[in-house]
Symmetry: D3
Subunit: 235 residues, 6 copies
Amino acid sequence: MRLHVVNPNASAGMTEGIRAAAAKAAPAGVELMVTGAAGGPPSIEGPVDGAMAVPWMLKRIEEAEAAGVDGHVIACFDDTGLDAARCLARGPVVGIGEAAAHCATLVADRFAVVTSVPEALPVLRGNLARYGLASRCAGLRAAGVPVLDIDAGTPEALAAIRRETRAALDEDGADAIVLGCAGMAALAADLSEEFGCPVVEGITAGLSLVHALATSGLRTSKRGGYATPRKKTAE
Amino acid sequence: MRLHVVNPNASAGMTEGIRAAAAKAAPAGVELMVTGAAGGPPSIEGPVDGAMAVPWMLKRIEEAEAAGVDGHVIACFDDTGLDAARCLARGPVVGIGEAAAHCATLVADRFAVVTSVPEALPVLRGNLARYGLASRCAGLRAAGVPVLDIDAGTPEALAAIRRETRAALDEDGADAIVLGCAGMAALAADLSEEFGCPVVEGITAGLSLVHALATSGLRTSKRGGYATPRKKTAE
Amino acid sequence: MRLHVVNPNASAGMTEGIRAAAAKAAPAGVELMVTGAAGGPPSIEGPVDGAMAVPWMLKRIEEAEAAGVDGHVIACFDDTGLDAARCLARGPVVGIGEAAAHCATLVADRFAVVTSVPEALPVLRGNLARYGLASRCAGLRAAGVPVLDIDAGTPEALAAIRRETRAALDEDGADAIVLGCAGMAALAADLSEEFGCPVVEGITAGLSLVHALATSGLRTSKRGGYATPRKKTAE
Amino acid sequence: MRLHVVNPNASAGMTEGIRAAAAKAAPAGVELMVTGAAGGPPSIEGPVDGAMAVPWMLKRIEEAEAAGVDGHVIACFDDTGLDAARCLARGPVVGIGEAAAHCATLVADRFAVVTSVPEALPVLRGNLARYGLASRCAGLRAAGVPVLDIDAGTPEALAAIRRETRAALDEDGADAIVLGCAGMAALAADLSEEFGCPVVEGITAGLSLVHALATSGLRTSKRGGYATPRKKTAE
Amino acid sequence: MRLHVVNPNASAGMTEGIRAAAAKAAPAGVELMVTGAAGGPPSIEGPVDGAMAVPWMLKRIEEAEAAGVDGHVIACFDDTGLDAARCLARGPVVGIGEAAAHCATLVADRFAVVTSVPEALPVLRGNLARYGLASRCAGLRAAGVPVLDIDAGTPEALAAIRRETRAALDEDGADAIVLGCAGMAALAADLSEEFGCPVVEGITAGLSLVHALATSGLRTSKRGGYATPRKKTAE
Amino acid sequence: MRLHVVNPNASAGMTEGIRAAAAKAAPAGVELMVTGAAGGPPSIEGPVDGAMAVPWMLKRIEEAEAAGVDGHVIACFDDTGLDAARCLARGPVVGIGEAAAHCATLVADRFAVVTSVPEALPVLRGNLARYGLASRCAGLRAAGVPVLDIDAGTPEALAAIRRETRAALDEDGADAIVLGCAGMAALAADLSEEFGCPVVEGITAGLSLVHALATSGLRTSKRGGYATPRKKTAE
C-alpha cells in the first residue's frame, strides 16, 4: 500500500521532520510518498497562511493521485484543505488534526490540545465543532511558541509545551493530550512517559487511520459534498 | 464611506450581477468598489473551487485595502476565505452567508436556507455550526440548479427555488427564507411577496451589516485568531 | 427614517443617558424617538423587574407604532419583552443584548459579556442559548455593581468593570467584550482603546442593526410565533 | 401542605377547568388554593398575551405567599412568568410545561409535545432549550386549535389532537406524549389508553413535582438569578 | 403505595444507611422495601463495579416486582442499570442521580455535582449528557474520598466535601449543589444550612419523584427502548 | 500482534459469523482470538440483555488479557460494556459501534445508522451523544428485523435493510451508511456497490481501528474514569 503524506507548509526542513516522523510511524507494508507544498508559505500560522497554502497542497494531492497512491495524510494540525483534498482523491484522506482527536477519544474520556500559538486556536476550535468532537475536548491551550521554533526544539519551546500539558491534565481535567502541531511529533513518547497518559501526535494517528480506512476498503463518499469537481473546475 | 464587495467567483457576468444587486442595496452615502476574483474558478460549487478562489480573492482584499476602503463584503454564500480576509483588513469583513443568517434570526424564529446544488450543503452546514446559528436553522435545501443557471434565470431554476421555498415553510417549519446563493439576489422581493415572509438575500444583508459595523466603529479583533499575519506570510 | 429607542426602565435619568448615547450612535438620516417605560420599575435587575416593566414598554411600542416609526430598539440588555414587541410592530425590533452579541461575533471569534450584577447572569445565559450564540460566548461576568451606580459612573464601578474586562480577555480567552448594561454605553470607546479589542455596547449595535434591517426592507415574520395578536388580546 | 395553582389566563371558565383537574390530581394531604389572573388577557396564545398576563399572575403569587402556601404551580404550558414567580416565592415554584417535560423524560426516551396553535411553538421550543431538555424532545406539534376551543372540547379539536398524537409517535419516533396546553388535561387518560404510551399533562405533573420538592424541603435558590428583589422593585 | 429502594452496592452497611435515609425521606403513606445487591461488588466506584452489580440489582427489581411494588428507586448516583430496570418494571423507575439533577434544575439555574472519586466523573458526565441536563450543570467535582470513607463520615471526608461545595458555588457559579453519592445523604441538611442554597441528595429526590410519577399514574413507556424483554432474555 | 474479538452475545452461531467476518477483515500480521459470552443471553436486543451479558464478556476480556493480547474489539453494535472493558485491559479497546461511527465521519459528511429493531435505537442514540458524534448522524433507522433473523439472512431481512438504506440516503440526506448490527457484516460490500456510497460495518472498522491504536502505541488512559479497578473489585 502506498500512502501520501503532504506537508501543506513549504518549509523543506519541516517536510524532512515529517518524513522522519512518518517513516517511524508507518504501518508495516506501507510505502510512503512524502511531499511539501513548495510555492506556498513556509509555515501555516493562521488563516492567511492556510489559504495561500491550499492550492499548492492540492497540486501535490493531484500528483500523488496520478502516481496511484491509496490514501493521503494532510500533515498540518489545522487540517488545511481537507475538504478539497477529499473531492480530488479516490482513496481516503485524513487530516492529522482530526486523526489525533478521533484517536484520543478512543483511549480517553476527554482530551486537551496543546498547540503552538494562540492565533491557531479559533481554527482548531472551529474544526472540533464541525467534526462533532468539541464535547470531548477539555481544553485548547497554546504554548505561545512559533511553529518554526518548535521544529528547532529549543528548551524554551519544550518547557512551554510541558507547562501547558500539565495544566491541561490538572486544571482542565483532560486524561489524554493531543499535540496540536506537526512539529511536536518527536515529543510524544517522552511526554507520555513523563505524564503517564496517552499523548497523541497527528502524523502517527493520521497514517494509522488512513491505513485503517484503506485496508477496510473505505473511501470518501462522492454522494454529497465531496463529489468530484465537474470539469470546469480543473481549467 | 467606501465599501468593497468582492465576488470570489471569476465569472465576469456574475460580478456584474453582484454589482447591480449591490448598487441597489447600498445604504445611503456608501461608495461601492466591486471586484471579482479573476484568475480563479468561474463559479464556486464545492470545496475545490473554494480553495482555488481564495488566493485571488485575497488579492482583491489587499488591493481594496490599499485603496482605503472602510469594509468588505465577500459575495459568495460559502463565505469563502472569510477568516483570511479578516486577518488582512483593517475594517470589518462580512460574508453574505453569515450576514443573511444573522439578519434572518433578527426577524424570524427559525430560517431555512434554499441554495443551488446539494454539494454546497455540507459547507453551509459547517458554517452555521461554527457561527453558532445551527439551532436557528430549520432546514437546508438545495434546488438542484447549478449557480450559472440560477444566474441566467431560467424558468426551471425559478420553479425549483419556489418549490423548495414552499417546502421549507410548510414542512420544515421555517418562518423566514435565506437565499443561499449570490445569484438569487434579484428573486428576494418577489419571493417575499409571494410567500408572505422575510426572504433574506446576502448581498443586501452583507452590505447593510458591514455598514452597521463600520458606522459603529467596530473592526475585527486582532487579539486572537484574526491577528495580522507576520511578515513571513507576505513574502 | 424614524427609529424608536425604548428604555424599559422607568428611571428618567437612565432614559436621558440612553438618549445621549443614541443621539451619538444614530446612523446618518435617522430621526430618533426615545421613550422610557414610565410606570414600571426604575431599573431592571432581575425577572420581577423585567416582568413588571414589559406592559409599560409595550405601551411605548404601540404609541411609537401609531407615530409611524420604522423600527424599534429595546434598550435593556435583558432584551426585555422582545418577543412581544415583535408581535406588535410592523417594522423590525432589535434588543440591545442580541444586537451586541451578533455584532461581536462578526468582529471576533469569541466574546465575553461584562454586566452589572450576578442576578442578571441567568437571564443573559438563557437569552444567548435561545439566540444560538452561547457557543460564541467565552464567559459571562458580573462586575457586582448595581445598574444605577454604573449610571452614576462612580470610580468603584469603573474599576470593577475594568477588572472583569481584563479577566475576560486573559482568563476566558475572549477576543471582544460586550458591555452587558445600557448604562455602560459611554465607556465603550475608552475600554476599546485601553484593551486593544472591540468593545461592543448595545445601543450603538441595536440602532445600527435595526437601521440595517429597515434599509434592507426586512421586518419580523408574521408566519410563526410573532403573528400579530388576535383582537381578543387588545381588549 | 397548601399548594397554590395559578392560572395566568383570566378566563374564569379555564380556571374552573384547572381547579377540577387540580382537585383530581392533588396528592393526598394537599390543600389547594386555585386562582386566576383576572385583569389580564382571557387566554395566552402568544408573547403579548404572556407579557400582559404576568403582572396579574405575580399578584396572585404574592397573595398566596401572604396566605402562607408551601409552593406554587403555574398552570400555563408556556411557563409564563416562572422566573419572576421564583424570585417572589419562599417555597418551590413549578411551571406545568417544565413539569410535564421533566416527568416525560423519566418514563420515556423521547417525548413529543402536542399543543394548541402554531404561534405557541417558538416559546415552547425556547423553553425546552433553556431547560436543557430539547435533546429529549422528538417533535413539537400544533393541532391548530385555539385554546378556548380545546377548553370547550369540540369534536374537531379532539380529532386534531389525536391526529397529531399519532404522527408524533409514528413519524417523530416519540415514545411518550406531552399535552401542551392546560386545557387538554382531561384528555390525558383516554389518549394514554388509546395510544398505549404515557400521556403527560402538566397540571398533574406540576402538582406532583411541586409536592415532591416541598416534601423534600427544596426551595428556590436565592444565591443566583432568583434572588428576592430588593425593595425598590416592590414600590 | 409500596416503593422499592435498591442499593446496587452489596455493602450491607451502606444499605442500612440508605434504609435510614429512605425512611426519613419517604413521603407520607409510602411503605418502603429496601434491598441491597448482595452478590455484587461491595461498592461501585467505576464501570467494572457497575457492570458486575447490575445483574444482582435486576434480581432485586424482579423480586420487588413479584412482591407488587408500585415503583423503584436505584440508590446509586451512577444510575447503575437504570435502563434495564425500566424494561423489567411495571411501574416507574428513577435513579437517584437523574432524580437529584432534575430536582436541582427546578430550584436553581445551574447546579454543580460534588461526588466521591474522580473515577466517577466520566460516568456522571455521560449520564447528564444523555438526560439532556449537561447545559444546566456548572461543574462536576470529586472530593477525592472513597465511597466507604464517606459512609464512615470521617472528618477528612467531610472537609473535602465542604471544600468542593464552596468551590462549586464560588468558582463554578452554581446556585445549587447535588451530592453525587448515596452515602452523602445525611450531610444535605447541614450543608444547605451552611452554604445557604439548595443541597439536593438523591435518595430524597428519587423517592419523591417516583412517588410523584406513581401518584400521577405515569409508568415507563413500552413503545420504544424500554419494551419488556422477549422471553428469550428471561432464560 | 494478537487482537481479541469478543461477541457479547452467547449465540455460538453468531460468534462463528463474527469469526468469519473478523478473519476476512483482519489487517495483515494480526493473529485473532475470537470468543463469545457463553453464559449470557443468546442475543442482545435491549438493555436487559446488555446488562446480563457484560459480566460474561468481561470474563472473556480478562482471559484474553491473561493470554497476552494487544487489544480488544467488542463485537456488538451497542458497545456493550465498553467502559468496563477499558478499565480491565492494558491495550486499547474499541466497540464496533463507535468504530463504525468514527470511520464513517472520516469518509462522509453525515452518516445514517441502519440497525435491527426499534428497541435498539435509544441505546445507539445515547452512545452517539456521549461519543460526541450525534451531530454527524443524519438518522437512526431500524429495519424491524430481529438480530437472529438478520444472522440467518432471510430475504425479508435483506429487503428491509435495503429499504431503510435507501430512505437514509434519500430522505435523511446521509452520504454514508453504518450497519448497526454485527450480523450485517456480510452485507456491507454488496450494499456499498448497490448504493454507490461507503457502507461501514463495525467488525472491519473495529479491527482496523484497534490495530491502528495498537501500532501507534496508544492505550487507554488510566488517569481518569478508566483507572484499573482497585483490588476490592476483583474479589
